[in-house]
């Protein structure tokens, strides 16, 4: 490691807030753009599976009724 202590690394020679802040914001943006399609795919897939089950049920139901 380049720094002598964790406190030194945190301080970044007086520019700690700038450096860590820049990395923090970057990781937040990356996390959000990753999360958006992942959550959307999950929700869409659940909808498609449910719809498929419903159709299957509708096909089976008339036979059960007779």
């Amino acid at each position: 490691m380049y720094f002598d202590s964790a406190a030194d690394a945190l301080a970044m020679g007086g520019h700690g807030a700038f450096v860590w802040g820049a990395y923090g914001i970057t990781f937040l943006i990356v996390f959000l753009v990753l999360l958006r399609p992942v959550m959307s795919i999950r929700a869409l897939n659940a909808g498609i599976r449910q719809e498929a089950l419903r159709k299957q049920g509708a096909q089976v139901a008339p036979e059960n009724a007779s």
Binding site: F3, S40, L44, G47, R49
Partner: protein, 244 residues
């Protein structure tokens, strides 16, 4: 050759490709991103002139480089969509826009944060910075334009034209530091001749540039998969895939 071209235009094939690659690319990219950040933040040496604030370079430069490269992806997809009317090409064009906007935002925000301790100002209306802001508006413009039209075929065509016209901005961004007197420094990494940056700083920087490209590819596949799932929710091939 034609078989490959045909596959790229086939939604089930592209969906399957994304589905297979994402589980590998996602963990690799996350690990590379964390490793590269720790390398740049804690292990690379301090700059003799700027001190530790220079460490922002390891996210600022990769984000800016890939934000520009991403524009080519979007414009090229727009061209294919306009000329050959390939539906998948306008899906790809729309997949690239939010990623490009996010990368440009990262470049602008980290640039502002870097500018404060280095230049003494968060923002200056400098050629490089202003042309990057225009790039951000172009990306956001493509997203907004697509939403503005009720008819999505017309929307896709308008977006393709906007992204093609916006290509004019790309050489301006590249050349801005040479054409105008600018606070922003010119490129330190050169493909020909020696770079103006030491190997101990160059390697983590190159590593982060490659990682940001990989992240772009990953996000592109995720967005494509998302759009295809939405567009083909009623199709037999997707239903078979998901319920099998």
């Amino acid at each position: 050759m034609w078989r490959i071209v045909h596959q790229f235009g086939s939604p089930p094939w592209v969906y399957g490709f994304c589905d297979r690659v994402i589980p590998w690319l996602l963990p690799i990219t996350v690990v590379a991103l964390l490793t590269g950040s720790v390398w740049g933040l804690l292990f690379a040496p301090t700059d003799y002139k700027q001190g530790d604030s220079y460490r922002i370079i390891y996210i600022h430069v990769p984000a800016a480089v890939v934000a520009l490269a991403g524009y080519y992806v979007m414009a090229l997809a727009g061209l294919v969509s306009l000329v050959w009317r390939v539906k998948l090409a306008d899906t790809a064009m729309r997949a690239a826009a939010p990623i490009g906007a996010a990368y440009t935002a990262i470049a602008l925000i980290t640039g502002a944060i870097w500018g404060k301790p280095t230049w003494g100002a968060w923002w200056v209306w400098d050629a490089r910075i202003t042309s990057m802001l225009i790039l951000f508006f172009l990306y956001v413009g493509v997203i907004a334009l697509f939403e503005a039209y009720e008819n999505k075929t017309v929307a896709a065509r308008a977006c393709a034209i906007l992204s093609l016209v916006g290509t004019v901005n790309i050489p301006i961004i590249y050349k801005s530091v040479d054409w105008w007197y600018s606070l922003h420094q010119p490129a330190s990494i050169k493909f020909t001749g020696s770079s103006a940056i030491d190997a101990s700083m160059l390697y983590p920087l190159l590593g982060m540039i490659i990682t940001f490209y990989a992240l772009f590819a990953l996000l592109m596949m995720l967005n494509l998969k998302q759009s295809l799932t939405e567009e083909y929710a009623q199709s037999a091939w997707l239903n078979k895939r998901l319920t099998a």
